[in-house]
């Protein structure tokens, strides 16, 4: 077993185990913490694939930003000592059947597909390439989605401020 395989199996075991704990834990703050572990080991996978910039973004924005936002809203809206109610057995069975059937279908399809893997080593993904790709308008340039994302973030910011502020009535 090579080094890459070992690290991949380690990260994927952490991801699967903590994803299951995230969706089954009865204490909501613990579920958020397990989600943090999942996001951090996903960032480990990105580091393994040598996408250093993306892994850093994943750590700061997902693991740093979104999880903190979720934990803040948990503290604002829930009693920490309360446990979540156990969902009814029929609901759990139906959801598990749906999820397992979909997963089996997808995994069978994936395993039957032949992918042509590239064998040459591309140039390193340095920050210069990423910046030029973000701002170029030609082929493989992403200037338009970059600008649209900036408008989207502005709209989301204004919208969430207006939604969450106190009404005067």
């Amino acid at each position: 077993m090579t080094n890459n395989q070992f690290m991949f199996l380690l990260f994927s075991a952490v991801i699967v185990i903590f994803s299951l704990l995230t969706v089954t834990s009865r204490r909501i703050l613990r579920a958020a913490t397990y989600l943090l572990f999942v996001l951090v080991s996903t960032s480990g996978l990105y580091f393994l694939l040598r996408f250093n910039f993306l892994a850093a973004i994943q750590l700061t924005l997902y693991a740093g930003g979104i999880v903190v936002l979720i934990i803040f809203s948990i503290l604002l809206t829930s009693q920490i000592n309360d446990k979540l109610a156990i969902p009814p057995v029929t609901k759990r069975i139906y959801a598990a059947i749906a999820a397992i059937a979909g997963a089996v279908l997808c995994i069978l399809t994936i395993l039957q597909t032949e992918f042509v893997q590239k064998t040459f080593d591309p140039a390193r993904t340095n920050i210069k390439t990423i910046g030029e790709g973000m701002l170029s308008t030609g082929k493989y340039g992403y200037a338009l989605p970059f600008e649209v994302i900036s408008v989207l973030l502005l709209a989301a910011m204004i919208g969430s401020i207006i939604l969450a502020k106190k009404r005067k009535d």
Binding site: Q5, F8, S12, I15, V16, L20, T22, V23, I28, A31, L35, V38, T42, L45, L49, L54, Y62, G65, I66, L69, I70, F72, S73, I74, L76, T77, S78, L84, A85, P87, K91, Y94, A95, A96, A98, A99, G102, A103, C106, I107, I110, L111, F115, V116, Q117, K118, T119, F120, T125, I130, G133, Y142, P145, I149, L152, A156, M157, G159, S160, L163
Partner: protein, 105 residues
């Protein structure tokens, strides 16, 4: 090229994570835990994009840019969803989906 790990492993991992998220979305009743399941689903899709980019099409950085945009959209979605959740909590002092059967102002 990425030695040792075939792309099928990444895809199977992402599929497992995606459907764990689906299970959580169907089973949970608390709005914040449902939001966490959605984050799991988005994250699994990101893994797919990155693995395809690195292993099958390493000439350009298309999958990486799509993952960046997915992360930005996820951040926007989480902030708006949490604003809505806090607003709902202020009105009915509960964030279970089954208690939310009226949307009147």
């Amino acid at each position: 090229m990425f030695e040792g790990v075939p792309i099928h492993w990444f895809l199977v991992l992402a599929t497992a994570m995606f459907f764990i998220g689906i299970y959580g979305f169907l089973v949970r009743k608390n709005l914040i835990t449902m939001l966490m399941s959605i984050e799991l689903i988005l994250n699994s899709v990101c893994i797919n994009f990155v693995a395809f980019n690195k292993i099958l099409f390493p000439e350009h950085l298309e999958g990486m840019f799509f993952t960046l945009f997915i992360i930005a959209v996820a951040a926007a979605e989480a902030s708006v969803a949490i604003a809505i959740i806090i607003n709902i909590y202020r009105r009915i002092v509960n964030i279970d989906v089954e208690k939310m059967n009226e949307m009147k102002y």
